[in-house]
Structures are given as structure tokens and as C-alpha cells.
Symmetry: D2
Subunit: 323 residues, 4 copies
């Protein structure tokens, strides 16, 4: 486990305690005290560097800061280790391309990318049900955070938060994006000068489906992700799978979590189990480095669209390795 922040710690505990077929043997973090605490908890060793961890482990999970993903992923590929890399693959297209190139040089797929929504029971049910309502024509997505965790920038909202929707809609539709347009209005009260929140992102796919994303990182009321597929014969609307309706104080309803783990905890578990299973079979699972590159290309086009209007999305030809 490279990186022992929130998500790295959650992944490591899950691998150690509720995933069949895996053990956490080594952990690394630039903050060695934090790494030691987790290693002690799980009976693992602390590695002095990412390189040594990679050399000592059968398979690697990268949960370091976004800016280090690409470099560490390439180290893992060089060492031929099955790797699960947290999203995004890289903030810039150049870095993401280098990871893809490294894997292409290797000639086989070793990297799985942590777009965990592909394993979420809600999205899985949604995709399975699409044929029951016909041809998808529009997908309305809502992605609301209670507050922006690390400062709010329009670009960060697109490359770090809405990037989940950029990936999941390609997967839902089995389709590729042709263009993107970001439409902004008046910002909410806590938005820094010059930034926008919420934003409407509107993409057109190659087959002509419209994909809309409301990206709102200071929504204040809670964390919520919704997705409605509008098709030729009906629609499908993904809610939050909440079990409990409370009646109290002149209102009836259910709680909304403050943070995403309350909504996607089960998706993370299934993602990890699928990755461990795939690793034992010599396969990857879920999104690939190629999917990560496409997501980064799309997110960067969306960022340009804020100031420059509609953007075509130019994705290179898909290599056979990712067919």
C-alpha cells in the first residue's frame, strides 16, 4: 500500500480484514509515523521507499497524492507488478499518456484504475437495466459534495470530482465522447473570486447521446450522486439506496451522508475483491490505464471549455491492448 491517507488506510484495512485472497504485507508513506501506525495495526512492515515496497510486494495499491500516481504507476509497470492505482491516473494528459506508453511497451495489462463506481451496486443495477428502457438519449448526472475538501477551483472540480462522471458515463453507455461544453452561471456564496460552482458540463457522445453533469462541490446540504438515464422507451433514475425513512419534527425523509465513503463504501469493497480475484488470475479488473487517459483528456477539455466554449474531444486511436 503506497499512501496511508484516508483512502489508503481504508483500502488497507479492507484488504486485511474483509477481502478474500489478500494480505497487506508492506505499507509506505512519506509520513513514516503514519505508515508505522497503520503497519502496526495490520501486522505489516513499513517500507522505506515506494521502490522498495514495489520490489517486496506481489501486487501494489497506489493511494498517494494525485500528482504522484503516474510516476509510481510507471515504477510498478517497470517492476511488472499488478497494480491498482487510485483515480485519477494523472492530472495532465502528458503524464497519463506516459503510463499508457509504459504499459504498451510492456505489451500486457497490469494496471487497474480505481474508478470504483464501476463496482457500485447502484451503477451496476443501472447499467443492467438500460436495455429495459430502450436507447439512451440523455443522461442527467448530479454530483454534489457537501463542501470542497481542499479548496475550490473550477479546474479541480472537473479533474478531481466530475472525473468520476466522465468515466462512468462512457462505461454506462459503451460509447465515446465527441465534444464537451461547460456552462456556468452565478457562483454560490462560498465560491472564490474567478471560480465557478456549480457548473453544468454537457457532453455529446459519438452516437449522439447527451451527457449532462451538474458538478457542485459546495452544495452544503450533503454528499449526493444521482444519475438518470433518459431512453427512448422510459427512464432509469439511480438514487442512494438508503434504507431508513425517518418521520420527526414535521418532516419525513432520510439522511444524506456528509462524505462519499457513506455512499460508496460497498463499491470500494467490491472493487478490491474484484482486483484481488483478477490478480490471482493474471488479469486486470475495472478501468484500465486507457480509461484513465481518456478521462484526463476529457476533463482537460472541459477545463478549457469554461473560458473557450465548446471543445471537441480528440482521443487518439485505441491501441489493441485496450480493445
Amino acid at each position: 500500500m503506497i499512501g496511508t491517507g484516508n483512502i489508503g488506510t481504508a483500502h488497507a484495512r479492507s484488504l486485511a480484514r474483509e477481502i478474500s485472497g489478500a494480505e497487506v504485507s508492506w505499507v509506505f508513506d512519506a509520513d513514516s509515523a503514519r505508515a508505522s501506525a497503520l503497519a502496526d495495526e495490520l501486522g505489516a512492515h513499513v517500507a522505506p521507499s515506494a521502490e522498495q515496497l514495489i520490489a517486496s510486494s506481489d501486487a501494489v495499491v497506489i493511494a498517494s497524492p494525485d500528482a504522484m500516481h503516474a510516476e509510481q504507476a510507471i515504477l510498478c509497470l517497470d517492476a511488472q507488478r499488478p497494480t491498482l492505482c487510485e483515480k485519477p491516473l494523472a492530472p495532465t494528459v502528458g503524464e497519463a499518456q506516459r503510463v499508457v506508453d509504459a504499459e504498451l511497451d510492456l505489451g500486457r495489462r497490469l494496471l487497474s484504475l480505481g474508478f470504483m463506481r464501476r463496482f457500485d451496486p447502484g451503477y451496476v443495477d443501472l447499467k443492467a437495466a438500460i436495455p429495459s428502457v430502450g436507447t439512451p438519449l440523455i443522461v442527467h448526472n448530479v454530483h454534489r459534495n457537501t463542501f470542497a475538501p481542499y479548496g475550490l477551483t473550477s479546474a479541480g472540480t472537473l479533474t478531481n470530482s466530475a472525473i468520476h462522471e466522465l468515466d462512468i458515463n462512457r462505461w454506462l453507455l459503451d460509447d465515446e465522447y465527441a465534444s464537451v461544453q461547460v456552462i456556468v452561471g452565478r457562483p454560490g456564496p462560498d465560491t472564490p473570486e474567478g471560480e465557478f460552482d456549480p457548473m453544468l458540463v454537457i457532453l455529446t457522445t459519438e452516437r449522439g447521446t447527451l451527457v449532462e453533469i451538474e458538478a457542485f462541490v459546495n452544495a452544503q446540504y450533503g454528499y449526493e450522486v444521482r444519475c438518470e438515464v433518459v431512453a427512448s422507451g422510459g427512464t432509469l433514475d439511480m438514487g442512494d439506496g438508503s434504507f431508513i425513512t425517518r418521520r420527526a419534527d414535521r418532516a419525513v425523509g432520510h439522511d444524506v451522508p456528509e462524505l462519499w465513503l457513506g455512499r460508496f463504501g460497498e463499491a470500494y469493497r467490491r472493487e478490491l475483491q474484484a482486483w484481488v480475484d483478477a490478480t490471482h488470475r493474471g488479469k486486470t479488473s475495472g478501468a484500465t490505464a486507457w480509461d484513465g487517459l481518456v478521462a484526463t483528456i476529457t476533463a482537460n477539455a472541459a477545463v478549457r471549455s469554461i473560458t473557450e466554449g465548446p471543445q471537441a474531444i480528440d482521443v487518439p486511436a485505441r491501441p489493441a491492448l485496450y480493445a
Copy 2:
């Protein structure tokens, strides 16, 4: 009652039977047999022409075909009759402007316009609740018809169906539109060549709120209107006020009506009662001729946007009569 088609007949029966303070004394329709049948049912007289009906009545409801609204409205204004005119005020900006000019010449407001959603319990509750969630930033509207009633054209969808949303969002937000953009994707299976369905209409208001409308007239599954106000401190989502949840055949849910009257019957009743009450007090109720002109200007700009991209919405200065 001028016009005894579906909506004229419904209005006449409601006025006769469930509205306090009104009687239906005269009806007119180009199809005189249809007019006679309704007159007999309600104990009213058949007028030989719209002009004679106007001359003989204390107040007039216009429910004729859209193309005749403006001309008949001007006749009513000339005769100084309180008038409730069905929406739209007119299909073209020129005609709508002539009605406004006629009322301005008269110097007092006599015309109420039948944007009945302003009286719908759902929209009324929605507007009342907006202060509880802060400043509106985005409004997501969905307007789906089971099928296009009179043939489908992209322009007709905007000027006849989505025009309801064009009016109701101004009213909800107490704000004016600055620009409009229509985004189209692949059409659904029953869409005639060269037309688009569904469409996304995106407006920006003068205060910067984004208003989105999904206009889908061949949605097939049923008639549905939804509206979600996304505000700085929370959101409000208007559903359909259905009472009954049915569990049967491996599913739980509720029925969706095929036609709009199943959703907006109560709005029509409240609209008529408010108009009768206002008429007794020498006032108008609900939307004005000015609101009708603005809706037609906006709808026509949206039509142009399908082929010409984003359009500014240029509304003339609001006359003092409509302040």
C-alpha cells in the same frame, strides 16, 4: 367561451359546475354542432360569431386554436371585456406585441393569460419553499409528453410545450432571461427526419441562474413534469403529488398519467376561480399579456438557437402598465 375543443369544454364545465361566481351564458365554436352540444349540456346559448359572443358576455375565455388567440384577444380588449386567454398569447412575436399594444392603448389591464402552472399546488409550494434553501443557482426542468399530440416539430415543442417552462421559471425566480441555447443529440426513434426530440434548453437569467429544460414530447412512458431548484443551501424537487403506491407484479410504484389533465386538473380549477374572483374585483390574475409576449420572444429565440447556437434574449423595456 370561445372554442369548445378539449380545453374549452373542460373550462366551460368547470366554470358552470365548480367555480363560485360564474355562469357560462354563451359559447362559440367554428364547429357549431360541437358548440350546440356543449351549450345544451350547460344551459347556455350558442353565439353565431366570436364578435357576438364578446358583445353579449360580461367576460370571455378564449380557448380557440393558438393562431386565433391574438386576434380574438384584441377584439375582447376593444370591447373592454375581462378576458382569460389560453396560452400561448400568440405563436409569433409580432402578434403578441399587437395584443400588448392594444392593452397599452386601452391603458388598463383586462387580459389574463392561461399559464395555469402558476396556480398548480406543486409549483405554488415550490415557490413558497425557495427561501428555505437559499439563493437559486440552477433549475432543472423535465417536461415529457407521452407522444406529440399534433405531429412533432422541434419548433412546436418549444413554442407550444416548453413554453410552459419558459413562463414558470421566470415566475419561480422573479427574474428575466438573458440568453438561451438549445442542445440536441440523436433523436428518439419516432422523430421525423430533420426534427429533434428530446432537446436540452439552457437559459441564463439576468441574475445568473441557469435554467435547464429537458423537452421530450415522445417520451412514450407517460406524461411527467418535474422541477428541481438547486440553491446555495439545498434543493427542492417537485414531483407529481401522486397519492397511491401500488405493489404488483414484482414492482412497486405509482401510475403516471398519459395526458396533462391528469396532472394539472387542479391547477386549471384554481386558475379559473382566481380569474373569476379577480374579474369581480376589476383585476386580472396570473400571467399578463406582457408575460405572454416575453414567453413568445424567448420561445422564438430558442427555435433559432437550434440552428444558430446561443441567442441573446432581447426583451423591450417593460411598460409601466405591467410593472
Copy 3:
């Protein structure tokens, strides 16, 4: 209008302002100042006594305290006035029987009883949908008040509040009760010593359907009425017809009213319009004096059941007048 308390005032305003075919000409209340205020508001006269009001009016609405209903209803019948009497017909079986006897002596039906739920859009939709799910086997009813309005007694809960369910389930099922049993547990925190709240009332109909009522008058969180019909091929569940879902403060849901008028306002309006229409045709509408007698017999059996266990419900043979 006899009685100008909350419900009498609401009825009078509705009759004057939103009911077609009615005028409020006379009002009476033991509190003559209150009567005068309402009369002034509506342009009506104040009657010095119920007798004089009855003599001067074409039709009468009784909205006086429960204990006076029977006596005033008999005065109306003696004067042969079409009458809408608020529920219950009478608190005691003897008084209710005397009203029925008076109407039987008269030989025609003049009295309509204000069980307004029979006009509620929710219950009307529910009854209409029953054939779609088969044979009713169980009906689960929930009747919760925010707080007991006039002090809480177990008997009062049954004879004044749950009596709505006692009537509406007979109407829903077109069936008669055979027995009743009240089951009580530990009382809620605000329940006076020796009283019970909530209570479960379980009735069996002649055809064997089980009718369950949770009667809870200090539910604190709000006013709510629900009804689920469990049938051989599915179920139907009546909610509150709310239009607006609010997302705010880590929760999503909708408001619950504090008082019943927020839920049943439309039922009252439809009840009044139906009564006025029926009166013009020389008919009664909705529940009859007989229905009021049956409800009182059933409620009193339920009261006995609290201390004496299951009770048979012995209703006399239905007179032909009420067939």
C-alpha cells in the same frame, strides 16, 4: 352555518368563495361576537338561534360541538332542510339512533354526514385502484395527530379521531364490521394516567377482511394519515400526496403538516361542492345518518374493548331508506 369555530368558519368561507351554486346567508354561534365577525366578512346575517337559522335557510351546515349535532340534526329534519352535519353524528348510540329514527319517520333522506375522507383524492384513487390488486385481505391504517387537541382520553381517540377510519374502511371495502378488538401497550410519555396512546384497533369484516388502525394522537412529529390495502395480488399504499422534496441539512424528504387541514383541505372543498350539487338535485351526498349510526356503534364497541376484550359489533338491520 350553525357553529363558527375552526371548521364552521372554514366551511362558510369555502361555500361563499369557491363552491358553485351556494351562498352563505345566515350564521349562528352561541358566541354571537364570533358569529358577527364571520357574517360581516361574508355579507351574511347573524341568526339569534339555531331554530331561526334553520327556518330562514334553504339548507343547513351543522358545525357545532359534537354533543349538539344530534339535536340540531333533528331540528333540521323536522324543518325538512337539506343538511350537512359534521362528524360524528353523535357521541352516543342512543342519540345517533334518534337522528336515524327521525329521518325514517320523515321517509326520505335529507341528512349528509361530513365524513369528508370519502371525497379525498387519495382515498378516491385508492378505492378505484382496489380491483387492480385483487381481493382485499388486510387494511393497515395509520392515523397520527401531532398532539391531542382537547386533552387525551382513550375513548375520545376512538370516538372522535379513529372514527374517520371506522367509516372510511367500510366505504373502501363495501363491507360491514363483525367484531373489534383494541390492543394497548405502554403509553407514550404525554399520556395521562389510565389512558392509552397509541392503540391498535383490529376489526374483522363480515367477509373476513382484517382492518387494523394505529390510532396515535400524541405522535408529536406531525399529522399523518396512511392506508395500505393488502390484497390477494398486490397492495396499494396511500401516502400524503406531497409535491415537494427538500434536500437540506444532511437530509432529504418532505414536510408533514401539523394539522389535518393541511392534508384534507381539498377533501372538504369537494365534499361541500358535492353536497351543494346534490342539494340542488334533491339528493344527499357522501355518508348518511345510517353511516353515522354504524360508526358510533363501532366506536363505542371499540371503547368497551379496551377493558373487556374483543367485542362483536351488532348493527341493527339496515332500513330500506339506506339501502
Copy 4:
């Protein structure tokens, strides 16, 4: 794994593939071909008898027919093996008591009982939320099966199906039952002569909370479990955690599964992981043999109540081992 029917196979696959810290080494089934097929799939051995399986395994799961649970549980206790036994512990009170006695003789707890709802995210959330609404006064439970899987008898409904509610309400409320009453009405159309379906089971707890269970095994429309806790300051209502709302064919709603695994799959997984974790720590998890005895005593009292009216529930004093 003793028993390789539906639930035994599901448990074995889950233990082998998605539970951390467990391997399936031996399987036994009276149908040795079925046992072999599963053993081959999972890389396990086939045991020639339950006894040999128990002797060869570190821990045992009993998923044999209900009638064999008690005997095999005693074998496991004799061999001092940590054991997870499917519910019910035994159909008769005598057998259940013998298992408890065997564990008491042993002097330590080795048996965990498969009341998996204690691990269901819905029930876990429900129990956690109870303090937010005050003191529980009534619990309404609904347990509906699409059809009775193995023939329908009133007794079987109570001892095999409603027994889940008998356990889970004790756990939800941390309370014990004092009495039970079963109320039956007319049976649904597919009910054999002399049997009842649906039934209302009403229990009173020692602290006075009313627990109601609608047990309906031929509900036809689908499988559904609901639970509403009515408390002094509000209520909590557990739904099915469905993610997807479909709009199609004039209706909006979501699918209901035909079978229980569609609702409780995650509960089974969490139950197994908790049991494996507890076993590694030398503990049991979830329900105990004592809970199984109480459930069987209660279910048998309910069966008697069908013909004999309200029954007291006499549970022996709780041994210190189960404190």
C-alpha cells in the same frame, strides 16, 4: 459445510471467494453427487458423514434441513467446534432446549445462529437510529413471500418465515416478549383448506411495546420485508434499499425481487465475515443458541394462538452463559 442445498451452496461460495480468513475444506451432503459438484468447484473434499466432516474441520457451518439442525449442532458442540447453524435452531422447543443444555454443559459458547438480519445494513441502520426518535411504542413488521416455497401451512409460516421477525424485534428493542396473539381473517385464494394466509401476529414485550407482524407467504407480487418503529417522538421505516427507479409503461417505481436472496445477500456476507472474525478470536457472533430457543418457544406459542387465542410466552430464566 454440512448441507449443499441453496443456502449451503451460497454460504460455501461466499466463504471461499469473498470472506477474509476462511477456506472451505470439507463439504457434506446426504446427496453425495451434489456435495461432490460443490467440492470440485471450490477445491474442497467431500466428507462421507457429518461426523467425519466435524472431526476434520476447524469450524463448521450447518445448512442442512431444519429437522437436523439440533442433532448436528450437538455433534459440533461435543467436538468443541465453532459452529454457525442456519436458523431455526430447531422446530421444537425440546430439541432447541437440548442444544442449549449441551452448550451449558460445555460451559462456553461455541454456537452462532444464522439469524442473518442482525447483519443486514437496513436493520443495522434502523437499530442505530432508534434513539433519534425516542421510546419505541409499536413496531409494524411486514414479511411477504412471493409464494410459499414448500407448501403452505399456518404453522410453517410462523416457525420458518415469521421466526425472522420474532428474533429481529427482540434484538431491535433489547426486550423480551410477554405474550403473543395471532389474528386471522379470510385466506387468500391459494391457501389450502384449514390454513391461514395472511396472518397478523401481535406480541407484547415485557416493557409494553407492541410488535405486529403481517406474515403473508403467498403475496404473489414479490418478496418484501419492511419494518416501521413507531416511537414517542417519531418513526423509522425500513425499506428495501433499492437504487433504481424505472419510468416505463405509464408507471414509475422499482423492481421487487422474487426471492429473499435478492434482499438479504449482503446480510449473509456480513454474517459470514463476522462469524469468521469471531471464530479467529475465540468468540461467537450474532444470535446464540439461547436466542434460537427463545425464537422457537415464541413461534410455537404463536402457532397455539391460532386456535387457542392469546398466549403468554414463558421463557425459562436466562442462564449466565447467555447474559
